[in-house]
């Protein structure tokens, strides 16, 4: 816990590598930046005292210092990187065919590798606890490492004095000595200013600096990342995030899931448009594709708001909010909700028209009747006086152990049992027959009449995602701050030039965090006509 008093009189905190004020290397601390036996100084964090390097007493300190290490941070990144890569080798659970069971799907499709993949949880990697934990640890590492570096670096750069220690100057990568008595320091100063350097003076020493703010870039972008991560965390707060799905049939008005009964949607029309196969431009590509290429998925919808008190199940009173179209890339927005065109089903049956005719004569007719598949009537009386009673209705018909059943309530494969009563015989035994798509079975084998399908009407079903997301502004803010930070740090360079009168001339040294070529060019320009010789790049000399 010893503070270090430099020979220049400045008191530095423990762990300082280069004196905050004059830059003199602190003898005992050179190992911290790996400066031992090196001709050039490692200038990272400007030799400031990173606390993690020094305080290591309590358990908390140890944890803190662990996360403060860039090495640990890089390892976390690398582990996350490798895990992510493995996570893409086989499809994630959300992308396997709907309805398949993950526990068997991976083994069946990919054999032993698939089994191992599944067992290790890679099939759901990105929502697994340990992947989330990895991201969270990266977050912690970002916060702690930034705090530990930003504060001392900020202090050091604020404290730095124009006059630097000889050792500091000599060990800079750009360094030169000029011995001459005709050196124009004033011109040098003017030249530096012309190159947009901020120049300060102390005891005849010049210190020129530009773009110090670029040093804060990394810390700004880390703040952005933290805001982003916190934004994603907000999703777990139910009030801020709604993610639901709703199927709406053409002509149907339905409550929008996730709006707590407040909003309804009517599907006026669902449109699926394909590219014209004869379009000269795309002909070849469509041919290669082998099937039509879709051009538009669109739902024409009306959004309603419920005006009466919300009682679930009770028929609502509705007020139109807006008429709108949902297309891919063009969602419907109302209030704080967004509706995305996400899916569709085509050709669900809507209405079916049947004709009663003689068993052996298709052209005869005792009348037609149309069944509204949403609300079939129990019996249909025909013009001829025949009565057709709907014995059973199977919206999505399947045969289960020889018995007809329906597997859903949606009329995707409708089938009926018809009981036909001839005129005036409604008390007698009816003729029973079964009719469905591509099936027409005579119940007794000696029926006189047949109920035949003559026409049908289909409709489409649109699938819309319902979203309400108050976390987006946070996430966007995080992204924006991150971009500002990286640009600030990457597209500007912190450059410093020191000129110090020494013996019969001057010493000059320069430092930048990147783009040395430009720094050298600027030094060359600034020294022109001043009598100061162009310094050399000491690192280049090595080779």
């Amino acid at each position: 816990m010893n503070e270090i008093t430099c020979e220049c009189g400045h008191v530095n905190p423990e762990g300082t590598v280069l004196c905050e004020s004059c830059g003199k290397p602190v003898e005992d601390n050179q190992h911290l930046n790996g400066n031992e036996n090196q001709t050039l100084l490692n200038m990272r964090y400007d030799g400031s005292a990173r606390r993690s390097q020094t305080y290591n007493r309590t358990f908390i300190d140890k944890v803190w210092n662990f996360f403060s290490s860039v090495k640990v941070g890089v390892w976390l990144i690398v582990i996350t990187l490798i895990a992510s890569a493995i996570g893409t080798l086989l499809p994630q659970e959300m992308y396997i065919p709907p309805g398949s069971d993950a526990s068997t799907h991976y083994r069946d499709q990919y054999g032993l590798i698939g089994q191992i993949y599944y067992q290790l949880g890679f099939h759901n990697l990105f929502s697994s606890w340990w992947y989330m934990l990895l991201l969270a640890l990266i977050g912690i590492s970002i916060i702690i490492a930034s705090l530990d570096r930003f504060i001392p670096l900020y202090k050091t750069l604020k404290t730095q004095k124009p006059k630097r220690h000889d050792q500091f100057m000599k060990k800079q990568r750009i360094f030169g000595k000029t011995e001459s008595d005709s050196i124009d320091m004033h011109l040098m100063k003017e030249n530096l200013k012309k190159n947009r350097y901020k120049v300060t003076e102390e005891d005849g020493s010049l210190f020129a600096e530009k773009n110090r703010f670029s040093r804060w870039g990394p810390y700004v972008n880390h703040i952005g990342l933290i805001v982003f991560l916190l934004g994603t965390l907000l999703r777990f707060v139910p009030a801020l995030y709604v993610d639901e799905f709703v199927w709406v049939r053409e002509g149907e008005t339905k409550m929008i899931t996730g709006t707590e009964g407040q909003y309804y949607i009517k599907n006026e029309d669902f449109i699926l448009e394909n590219y014209d196969e004869n379009d000269e431009r795309f002909q070849e590509a469509i041919m290669r594709n082998g099937q039509p290429v879709p051009k538009t998925y669109q739902t024409n919808a009306v959004i309603y708001e419920r005006t009466d008190d919300i009682v679930v199940g009770k028929d609502p009173e509705l007020k139109e909010v807006k008429e709108a179209e949902a297309r891919v890339n063009h969602p419907i927005k109302f209030e704080n909700y967004t509706l995305y065109q996400a899916s569709y089903q085509q050709n669900e049956f809507n209405e079916m028209t049947f004709k009663l005719h003689d068993m052996d004569d298709e052209d005869s007719s005792y009348g037609e009747f149309t069944i509204d598949l949403d609300d079939p009537e129990t019996e249909y009386e025909l013009d001829s006086g025949h009565v057709v009673v709907l014995g059973s209705y199977f919206p999505e018909y399947e045969l289960d152990d020889g018995e007809p059943v329906s597997v859903s309530k949606y009329p995707r494969n409708p089938a009926f049992v018809f009981n036909v009563y001839p005129p005036g015989e409604s008390d007698g035994e009816p003729e029973v027959s079964f009719a469905g798509i591509g099936a027409n079975v005579d119940g007794s084998g000696e029926n006189e009449f047949k109920v035949g399908l003559v026409d049908f009407d289909v409709r489409d079903v649109t699938g819309l995602t319902v979203r309400k997301d108050y976390t987006l502004p946070f996430i966007a803010l995080g992204g924006a701050i991150f971009m500002i930070g990286v640009i600030q740090g990457m597209y500007w360079n912190h450059r410093r030039i020191w000129v110090k009168p020494k013996d019969n001339g001057v010493w000059i040294a320069g430092h930048t965090n990147k783009n040395w070529v430009a720094l050298k060019r600027e030094i060359e320009k600034s020294t022109k006509g001043t009598g100061i010789e162009t310094p050399v790049d000491q690192q280049e000399l090595k080779d």
Binding site: S84, I286, V486
Partner: protein, 395 residues
């Protein structure tokens, strides 16, 4: 309409030739001979590069006109565009650092990439609904530019390694350097083999079961590996030496596998042919040619490329991608393989920067990282589309 697309293909062809010529000028500029001024030769090289770039820009916009949408919507278009951005990134870096040696590697890489792109179907394809957005242009172009600039760091890294790796003895480094060169040979082999067989209109059809249904599978190269349980039905075609393993399902899987075998073998042949002629490691033969390159500057070019490319890549491949995904698919992030690999690229270069800035990984280490980064970019560009595939399978 047809004219415009014909003009477009001719412009691309012209650009290709111009880049090729420019490469020779750059190669001339780095030779040690004192007879001609290297600066002048280099200047011609960069002027040609710019002309080539403008020509390719001409291709881009004429094709845009012909298609009605920016040509970045399928593999051919995207990879070509990536090649163009690579040249653009090279031109930028050239003007910052003015080193000719960059052109000697950057332009051939771009040439390979463009040639590689034309091995994919080149016809203009219509845009499916999810792609019909301005974000297609914004996201894809920025992402490609970012990747291209990052690739310049690979170019610089490669120059650095060829120049610096000690070729006096066999080491891990010489091995991996040869491996990188071998990968280049493989790409070249793929281009040559595909072009030759397609020039001869080679076709071999098989009937093989795909998900229980017999399907006709047509190879455009002689089948070394035939489809699993496939039966050759074309006359006069070579019968396969063996079958693709059973787990390679799908119509294209076996074809891709076969193409891969051809490329790997072709690459081996090419590589060893050159090596036998040279009688030493190819890296070792190239080393003296790059003696004039200043490793300090090359190292900085590599770092600078990452510094410039990383923000652009993040903006294009992550942020713009998220904005678009939020609009098109109702979520800004869906862990789709392409997205994950963009994130992996981001992580990788983030690690590069941290290692370089605070752990002092410069020079050789940094150069190897740049090679690794390029491998990830290529993996995302090709493997994810051709093998893993997901929402981005169109491009």
């Amino acid at each position: 309409m047809g004219d415009l697309s014909a003009i477009s293909s001719n412009l691309l062809y012209a650009a290709f030739v111009i880049y090729l010529v420019a490469t020779f000028f750059f190669a001339g500029a780095i030779r040690d001979k004192k007879t001609t001024s290297p600066d002048r030769v280099g200047k011609i090289g960069i002027i040609l590069s710019i002309v080539g770039f403008l020509t390719q820009l001409g291709y881009f916009f004429t094709r845009w006109g012909a298609a009605g949408h920016a040509p970045v919507s399928n593999l051919f278009e995207f990879i070509t565009f990536f090649g163009m951005m690579l040249v653009f990134a090279f031109i930028i870096m050239y003007f910052i650092y003015r080193i000719n040696v960059l052109g000697v590697i950057a332009l051939p890489v771009a040439l390979l990439i463009i040639a590689f792109a034309s091995m994919f179907p080149t016809e203009i394809s219509p845009l499916v609904p999810s792609l019909q957005s301005h974000w297609l242009y914004i996201h894809v172009t920025t992402a490609a530019l970012g990747q291209a600039i990052l690739s310049i760091s690979f170019v610089a890294g490669l120059i650095f390694l060829i120049r610096q790796v000690d070729q006096n003895k066999k080491t891990k480094q010489t091995f991996w350097l040869e491996f990188v060169i071998y990968m280049v040979a493989t790409t070249l082999a793929f281009i040559i083999i595909s072009s030759v067989f397609s020039a001869f209109n080679y076709e071999a059809s098989f009937e093989a079961p795909v998900e229980g249904q017999p399907v006709e599978i047509t190879y455009e190269m002689p089948a070394i590996a035939g489809p699993f349980e496939g039966e050759l039905i074309s006359d006069g075609a070579m019968s396969p030496l063996f079958q693709a393993p059973e787990w390679m399902r799908g119509v294209d899987a076996a074809i891709k596998f076969n193409t891969m075998i051809w490329s790997i073998l072709g690459g081996l042949v090419l590589y060893w042919l050159v090596r036998l002629v040279l009688r030493k490691r190819i890296g070792s033969a190239l080393q003296p040619l790059l003696r004039k390159a200043n490793p300090e500057i090359v190292d900085e070019v590599g770092y600078r490329a990452v510094a410039i490319g990383f923000p652009i890549f993040t903006l294009g491949a992550l942020i713009f991608a998220m904005i678009w995904a939020q609009q098109a698919w109702d979520r800004f992030w869906g862990w789709d393989p392409k997205e994950v690999w963009a994130l992996i690229t981001f992580f990788f270069y983030a690690a590069y920067l941290h290692l370089r800035l605070s752990r002092g990984w410069q020079g050789t280490k940094s150069a190897w990282l740049a090679v690794g980064g390029f491998a990830i970019i290529m993996f995302n560009l090709l493997a994810v589309n051709l093998i893993i595939s997901g929402l981005h399978s169109y491009a």
